[in-house]
Symmetry: C2
Subunit: 342 residues, 2 copies
């Protein structure tokens, strides 16, 4: 019998139907080919292909916008939003619009081609997380921005257009609906129980263990109860932290450790799937003053990662529900048992 589950945080229902795993597939996901062989703009030595860097971790003695970097952050050459200009809002007949003020940056995770984030030494993964922290902290100062976050698209099915390992940072002038729902749920839970919703979920997942994938001194990684996708993983810090940019160096080392394990389990167990990674952190400004009442206690930053093994289709767009052929208990067991050091 299929089962319908509701997410523990947002109003989202997921239909679990193992039956769907037996569907014949008339398309070959592995047959997606390269469109071109243009120069890699993110390769060491090609620094002039990108806008000037806004952050880098470099070898001593190397100079900005030349080689010698380990991680490099540049404004997106094809930005979805623009840093310049004021925020204007206006009505257009029945409708509303505002100017596209924001920031859109690219975190180049390695100077080398054909090396994925999880294949690097732990220290380099820590550097990538430090780049996120530094840019999020810096962009927070711009009073036009209300919400900042980092994300990573790997492969065509996850919406990537470039192959060189990279992630992106975006600053928005509004708090997006997905975060609004999480903020409201966290606040409501705290108001009712004086407990943190994320803490309650993490503790329950660690205690039961059936959906737990990995844990270390700083974090738990588990497949959420109403996972939208097979092998979806949430990484949550044990320490209460509202904003990611307040993480300590030590916390980033522990995060790099658990993140690498999850991505290696994907790589080895699922044969390097396309995936998305999203770092959700608290908003930095809001038009609602009561957002701040208990946010430091009720909201916690977290990471969502999901492989894109099947498309998001008419059902999902029509309803906001998801169909997932695999229960998170089975996904977690599979990921736990992958030999990631093989």
């Amino acid at each position: 019998m299929p089962e319908i589950r509701k997410d523990g945080i947002v109003e989202r229902w997921v239909v679990f139907s193992p039956e769907r795993l037996r569907r014949p597939m008339q398309y070959d996901l592995h047959a997606i080919e390269d469109a071109n062989h243009e120069p890699d703009p993110f390769l060491s030595g090609n620094e002039s292909y990108t806008p000037p860097e806004v952050f880098a971790i470099r070898e001593p003695g190397s100079t900005a916008n030349g080689p010698g970097w380990k991680v490099r952050v540049v404004p997106n050459h094809f930005p979805a939003l623009r840093v310049e200009g004021e925020l204007h809002k206006e009505a257009v007949g029945l409708y509303d619009k505002m100017s596209g003020v924001g920031a859109h940056e690219v975190v180049i995770e390695t100077p080398e081609a054909n090396v994925e984030l999880e294949q690097q030494p732990l220290e380099n993964i820590v550097n990538v997380l430090k780049a996120y922290r530094s840019r999020l902290a810096d962009l927070t100062k711009d009073i036009r921005f209300r919400y900042l976050f980092a994300f990573k698209n790997v492969g065509l099915l996850a919406g990537a257009s470039l192959k060189h390992a990279h992630s992106q940072i975006i600053a928005l002038p509004v708090i997006p609906i997905n975060i609004r729902e999480k903020l409201d749920a966290a606040k409501k839970h705290y108001a009712q129980k004086e407990r943190n919703l994320f803490e309650d979920i993490l503790k329950a997942e660690i205690k039961s263990g059936e959906r737990l994938v990995f844990q270390n001194a700083g974090y738990g990684a588990f497949c959420p109860f109403a996972s939208r996708f097979s092998f979806e993983v949430m990484i949550m810090p044990r320490q209460q932290r509202c904003n990611f940019h307040n993480c300590t160096d030590h916390e980033l080392v522990l995060l790099a450790d658990i993140l690498q394990k999850v991505l290696l389990a994907y790589r080895v167990g699922l044969e390097r799937p396309d995936y998305n990674l999203i770092l959700h952190t608290a908003p930095v400004r809001s038009s609602k003053s009561d957002d701040w009442d208990t946010m430091e206690q009720d909201f916690r930053w977290h990471i969502e990662i999901f492989p894109r093994l099947s498309g998001v289709a008419g059902f999902e767009f029509g309803t906001g529900f998801y169909i997932n052929p695999m229960l998170p208990e089975d996904s977690a067991k599979f990921l736990r048992e992958v030999k990631i050091n093989a």
Copy 2:
């Protein structure tokens, strides 16, 4: 300057950034290949590959589950939801779940392979719409179901697994969040203005014409003000109809006409893109009694169609916002000017 627009119906923001059109693309969308050459289960003569039909439009004298059909509806062989069983709801620790009761059917749109919906004579497209109407009307009788709708996934990027032209019908035991948002917006608009929100939008789009793609005596087809995707089209009836299953034969003929034109414009102008089509109609049952107060006047069924020219990526999943490189005014102009009879 990019522009951020809010949808006229739901709380959804879209970032329009033409800059993104210039992004280099290192993957070739056209290089997706066939995974296998298994027999086509939807072909005339292969009726035994599917569960027995629940509806068909047939040549006189032909018999059920044999050849001689024009359109055929069968239960999905790999259903996301099951018709059998009772609806149970239960708590699981912090979480909620319910049994996966529902219906999942496949509308086989043609007995032939390699023929798409829009390539058929108008009469066959009308038959497909009649199949939707008949199945939606029939499933409405099952008191366990609250929401029914039809959708169509074409191509791998739109989540399809089979190539033979088909669409799907789903019945759910809950009203999905996407419909809830539309119902609430429609009700609020009506309460404030005693006018139908969908009617207001359709009239404004026809009057301005800048986002209008096609119109006929029964329908308008336009690119919504805050289109999530380039070339996204909404088809809306001029007549107030809450439920699709109450459409007359004549209304279906006019719908087939405008739908064929939109799909041919996609086929010719965009070189047969992968796309999703979703038929949104009113719920048939609800746990909220005031849903019915003005629904007949305030909500209107409609169709959304969008080609999947780029992936849904970390940005969209992280925020609920969309990034669209093309303004709907430009999309509409392009689609209007395609020579669909060439």
